[in-house]
């Protein structure tokens, strides 16, 4: 190794060092510490007291935890497929050679630039049961449906009705699909035009081309977005927290695992229990991500391989 190589190596390590230090202090240490705290009663102010597995047995018997888990999984299972379908659909449309394509791409991307706090407050009003924009739009068609059926069909009270609150949150999430659309657009532009020409020569229609050419070749991008979606939706916190004013929503329908962790850690001063919840969430995310990766091994088509 020449003196120049050694100097470059030192420089490289020097540039890496801030990240390494940050990773050790802000990722590795909290992870290890939370493993220890999850076995303790820890109020933050007093030293932790070892309890064994009590926090985990409490968790298994805690009905609010199970409700938060059910809410989280239900939300993820609605938000990920809907978000994926909508963003792929929008990306395909925005990939068509239409006039003012750049303008439409910008329009669909812009909402994802809105800060999450503003987004939540905005949607509080959009979803307002009495004077919200969404219900104002729904009022006329629902009245029409009601007249046909001979009954009254009031629009849903999105944020006050446990049946609809999670759907309200799903719609809020769809508002930010612009980010995924951009990634799908990049993926779509990577698909060789010859494949579409060949498929056309084989007499396929537009749907067949989408199903047999676009989707398989877009599958690595879908795979990436689904993994990010799983991680993101299981960690949902800010928007429901603001939509409910820091509460749990009607019938606790907007209480998610991340919110429940926050409540125990910072409002109830049960940091030990919060750490056991956080570890559970970590394991759940790891497990689902592993499952998606395994699924991807057979379903994702990499053109280079």
């Amino acid at each position: 190794m020449t003196p120049g190589d050694r100097q470059r190596q030192r420089q490289g390590l020097g540039f890496l060092l801030p990240w390494l230090v940050g990773f050790l202090f802000f990722s590795v240490y909290p992870l290890v510490a939370s493993l220890w705290f999850s076995l303790c009663d820890y109020s933050v102010l007093a030293p932790p007291v070892f309890l064994g597995t009590k926090n985990f047995t409490d968790m298994a018997q805690d009905p609010v935890f199970w409700q938060a888990l059910r809410n989280t999984l239900l939300f993820a299972s609605a938000a990920i497929p809907l978000g994926t379908a909508l963003s792929i659909g929008l990306a395909v449309l925005l990939n068509q050679p239409i006039r003012a394509r750049g303008f439409f791409r910008t329009v669909f991307f812009l909402p994802s630039l809105v800060p999450v706090i503003s987004l939540a407050i905005l949607w509080q009003w959009v979803l307002n049961g009495q004077m919200g924009l969404l219900n104002t739009l729904l009022a006329y068609p629902l009245r029409w449906v009601g007249e046909i059926l001979g009954t009254s069909c009031p629009p849903p009270d999105w944020l006050n009705d446990p049946l609809f609150a999670q759907w309200g949150l799903v719609f809020t999430g769809l508002w930010g699909t612009g980010h995924a659309v951009v990634i799908y657009l990049a993926g779509l532009q990577e698909i060789p035009a010859e494949l579409y020409e060949a498929a056309e020569l084989d007499g396929t229609n537009a749907w067949q081309r989408f199903w047999h050419v676009t989707l398989p070749l877009l599958s690595p991008v879908i795979f990436f977005n689904v993994i990010m979606g799983v991680i993101g939706t299981l960690q949902t916190f800010a928007v429901p927290f603001i939509l409910t004013g820091g509460g749990d929503g009607p019938g606790r329908s907007l209480l998610f695992i991340a919110t429940y962790i926050y409540q125990h850690a910072f409002r109830y001063w049960n940091m030990g229990y919060a750490c056991s919840l956080a570890l559970f969430l970590f394991a759940l995310i790891a497990l689902l991500t592993y499952w998606v990766v395994r699924l991807g091994e057979t379903r994702v088509h990499y053109a280079g391989r």
Partner: protein
């Protein structure tokens, strides 16, 4: 001529000549760094020089924040040894505990009294018994309920500043419209519900246009509502009392609401309510005719209600089976000295100043509240703008007025009762189901907190005795 600067070579890259700034981009970078540096350094008040600086965290903003600022300013002018630097802090209950655990707390902080037991049991505060008694701040100076709420586990931990008690507020115009005597508020809950039926107005589709009273508006005292039924949340030792007869009556009363008015209809009406501090407050818009509120409501009526808004205030009605009248719950802002305060003696000096009658009356007058002190000057009563101040004073002095709930598991209980009560009011749970569920869950939360306390109790007591002995 390029400006000589510190060596920015590392930041600006190889194109930059050592020690000089040449391009506009580099000027921009220096400008941003300078702004960042300026933004990070606190602008020191010149009056703080040479004085002991007491860091004071306070939660209030807007007109309440201005009131605190005025008293702090008076204190800083009144002497030349201590300078109190006030910082407005949101989510005080959470941030103070984190700052204390990080050994970087303020010297003095303004909390709500409800958090006191949890803070005390987690060793987050300094006991004030000896300081208070040597400063001449004694129990007999205060209205009993406000002194009582500053004590826990046999010690004094705080001193009250601006207090409040809750009372019924009713819209006289709506009373007149409904054919009720606007000067005769309900005295019992049965009467309140009769008035409620008379006042409530439904639209042709069955939805509510206006309601006389609903427990969720504003719903801030749900955990204390059982007091008007003669009930208590816990025995003060170890057991929740939600299975007691008064608590059963309380939940039965809640259950009657969705039966009479419809849970979804009430939810839909609430969906249209605006914020408390806005002209869309449902009491100001006439959507709700009777509400339970604190002494502060008058100030918000002046600021946000229509100019001709005509209201009254009286003790909130009690259940027929509860002979006690008038009943109310009291709460207060309190000043505490966090454990780890760097200048506890000076912090106490500030607290003592705020507790002096002139400062306290100024603060409470600016906040449009009454004072927690037993003696009130005639000028305070004369100058106070609240038209029903005497109602609140009468309630504050009533032996049947009790401090707002002080449970070691207060936050868990508040969250859970709100969730359960909302389900009962929606009609998705019966009163019995809500009550039983709450008792089971919250007894466990309380047991856990008490178990934590038992593990540390002996150590805490000796720490506090040592702190008291070391009091300067």
């Amino acid at each position: 001529m390029p400006l000589r600067t510190p060596d920015l070579h590392f930041l600006l890259g190889a194109r930059v000549g050592r020690g000089t700034i040449k391009s506009p981009e580099q000027w921009l970078l220096v400008l941003f760094l300078g702004l960042g540096w300026a933004g990070c350094s606190p602008g020191e008040d010149p009056r703080a020089r040479g004085r002991v600086v007491v860091e004071y965290w306070e939660k209030w903003t807007a007109y309440e924040g201005d009131a605190i600022a005025a008293v702090v300013e008076d204190f800083n002018r009144s002497q030349d040894r201590i300078f109190v630097r006030r910082l407005t802090v949101s989510k005080m209950d959470q941030k103070l505990i984190l700052a204390t655990s990080g050994k970087n707390p303020p010297d003095v902080a303004g909390l709500w009294n409800t958090y006191l037991p949890a803070y005390v049991e987690n060793n987050a505060l300094l006991p004030l018994d000896r300081w208070a008694s040597e400063s001449g701040l004694r129990e007999e100076n205060y209205l009993p309920v406000f002194w009582e709420m500053c004590r826990h586990r046999g010690h004094l931990w705080a001193l009250p500043t601006t207090p409040s008690v809750t009372a019924l507020h009713w819209n006289k115009k709506i009373f007149r419209e409904a054919g009720l005597d606007p000067e005769q508020p309900p005295r019992t809950l049965a009467e309140l519900e009769r008035f409620n039926e008379t006042i409530t107005r439904k639209k042709p589709d069955g939805s509510l246009d206006r309601i006389g009273h609903m427990p969720q508006e504003p719903g801030w005292w749900m955990r204390d509502f059982n007091r008007w039924f003669g009930g208590k949340v816990w025995d003060g030792e170890s057991r929740l009392l939600l299975d007691s007869e008064p608590n059963r009556r309380f939940f039965a009363w809640l259950e009657s609401y969705p039966r009479r008015f419809g849970g979804p209809a009430m939810d839909r009406l609430r969906g249209g309510f605006g914020n408390f501090a806005s002209p869309e407050n449902p009491f100001f818009t006439g959507k709700v005719a009777m509400v339970m509120h604190g002494v502060w409501l008058d100030n918000f009526i002046r600021n946000y209600a229509p100019p001709d808004f005509d209201y009254g205030a009286a003790p909130f009605p009690t259940d027929e089976a509860n002979p006690a009248f008038p009943v109310s719950v009291a709460e207060a802002d309190i000043l505490v000295i966090p454990a780890g305060s760097r200048h506890p003696r000076e912090a106490m000096e500030f607290i003592r100043y705020v507790q002096s009658p002139p400062a306290m009356e100024k603060l409470c007058l600016l906040m449009k509240k009454f004072t927690p002190l037993r003696d009130v000057s005639p000028a305070f009563l004369r100058n106070h703008p609240h038209p029903y101040l005497r109602v609140f004073l009468q309630l504050a002095r009533s032996p049947r007025t009790v401090p707002i709930l002080n449970l070691p598991s207060f936050n868990e209980y508040s969250n859970d009762i709100e969730a359960n009560v909302n389900e009962v009011l929606r009609g998705s749970l019966t009163g019995e189901e809500g009550r039983t569920r709450l008792q089971g869950r919250q007894q466990k939360a309380l047991d856990d907190k008490l178990a934590r306390w038992r593990r540390v109790a002996a150590g805490r007591e000796s720490t506090w005795c040592r702190e008291l002995a070391e009091t300067p």
